[in-house]
Amino acid sequence: MQILKLDKKNLFDFILSLNNFGEVHAPVKKGDDQFVFSKITDLSSIELEYTRTILPPKKYLHPPNDAIFKFSQKEGYKLLTEELEKKYVIFGIHSCDIYAIKILDLIFAGEFVDDRYFTRRKSTAIIGLDCIPDDKCFCRSMNADFVEDGFDLFLSDIGSSYLVRVGTGRGDDMVCGAKGMFKKVDKKDIAEYKRRSDKKKNLFKVGIELSDLPEIMDLEYESRVWEEIGNECLSCGSCSMVCPTCYCYDVFDEVSLNAESGVRKKQWDSCLFKDYALVAGGHNFRADRSSRVKNRFFHKQRGFVTQYGRPSCVGCGRCIDACPAKINIIEVINKIRGVKL
């Protein structure tokens, strides 16, 4: 992999040059202490030291609301594809979120490939940025604190400059487009990168022990813990909305007033919603909250291991932040493991 460095004083000029590759979005402040990925009009609004955004970057690839096609009695089904090829450059995505995109790739590929997702994926450039963990980050325990691919460029702070890993040909085009801003790394830069990387390892305060977790979860499938959490959960679905790897969606028709034409849409759904498994005729396969909570934890931490060899959780900490009932995934796993808190 090509590894270069970018002097910090050139950062804004570099970001300006990225406009040639698409509409630049980056983390900015929302309210007092929250962050969102948003279109950048003022470079100084970019929050380089943000913790986590409210919504993960999945909103660009798998939008909360997405009109798939129009239909009418006369014309049948007409795909809506205009939006798909709009070019974006998302600057400042953390490792965990890049890892999460790689997990979404697996979901939307498979036997039936979702071309909408992959067209957007292709139109969206990803520029990673390293970060300092806070007290809710457990990406290291989920093996998502470092990514070796899934980005066009990845910037790591090494003091007065960023060490830049070039992941794709498009990333290389960006480097070439920013004439003279990128330099070769020297031994001192490498030493500083290693020093900071080492230091970061010790900053994680929380984590999930992954080895033997699948077995423990199978053994505790009937545990009373699920009922306890079910009693606390409000079924609001916040955890799934903010989760970078939750992908469930509803499919429905929006119809014109004369009922002759309309649009079929996808919209984020949550397995915690009461009607998630409700079928026509009134039978609900997961009527009680505890069964829905259990399903969510099992699918993330257990089911994914069978399907894809790892949990789908990347340890970003968003669900801990978002839950109004203060359900904390790390505490749930510890309870299941029988660890006294």
Partner: protein, 287 residues
Amino acid sequence: MSTHLTPVKVKKDIHQPYLARIIKVLPQIKDHLLFQIKFEDPRIVSSFTYRPGQFVELSVIGSGEAPISISSPPNRHGIIELCVRKIGRVTNALFRLPKNSLVGIRGPYGNGFPIEKLEDNNLLIIAGGLGMAPLRSLLWYALDNRSKFKDIILMFGAKNPDEMLFKYELLKLIDRPDMKCLLTVDKDEEGIWNAYFGVVTKLFDYIHIDPDTTYAALCGPPIMYKFVLKELLERNLSKDRIFMSLERKMKCGVGKCGHCSIGYKYTCIDGPIFTYWDALNLPEMIE
């Protein structure tokens, strides 16, 4: 972990149906109709193939989509038959459609029965109530390809004769010498039923199962599974030789939207046909 990044120009979306026309509607039991449907595009008419046990997503313009199992056998080409119960928003809208209306169909989805595996064996089809809808495809596939199978047995139970799906078609099979068609009803208040009475498990008294050469295919209400499985295991049928069609909430049909998950699997791509062994090894599969 590999990334799928080949450039794509979206020409077809996984959620996009093909237009199809309802060419005939055959009345069934109360609130059930059998729709004969033909794709508008002749290329799709000729390329649309499926396995017994697979389903399609049926769109009624303006009302949305519903998963419906295919009731016709794949060897009868050109039209597909969908047996639909009027139960929800989409099916209510479907029942209201004028003659020869257009609907949307995409699929086929799901794994279907592994027919290559079933061939050269005895086939025991056990249906309860509406479970006959998907199993009818398998039954007629086997009968249309009679030489590919050893003994064929159908055991089908309904509450009463008026609630027996495909009743007239199945009654004709009773006299067929190359199969055993055992039909039973719980009760018959009109006193016209002259086949069997009682729950479907009672029919086990009239058959013999060779566990080494028999495959069973089941579809019915959860309570039926419970008792039928017990009977099959008592007759030493291996759990791998029992196939069951399961139902869950479905939306996308293509393993993306999450709704039909049972344990770690998606009913829409890993199912709806599961062996009993699979079922036992997945949490929450059988209620």
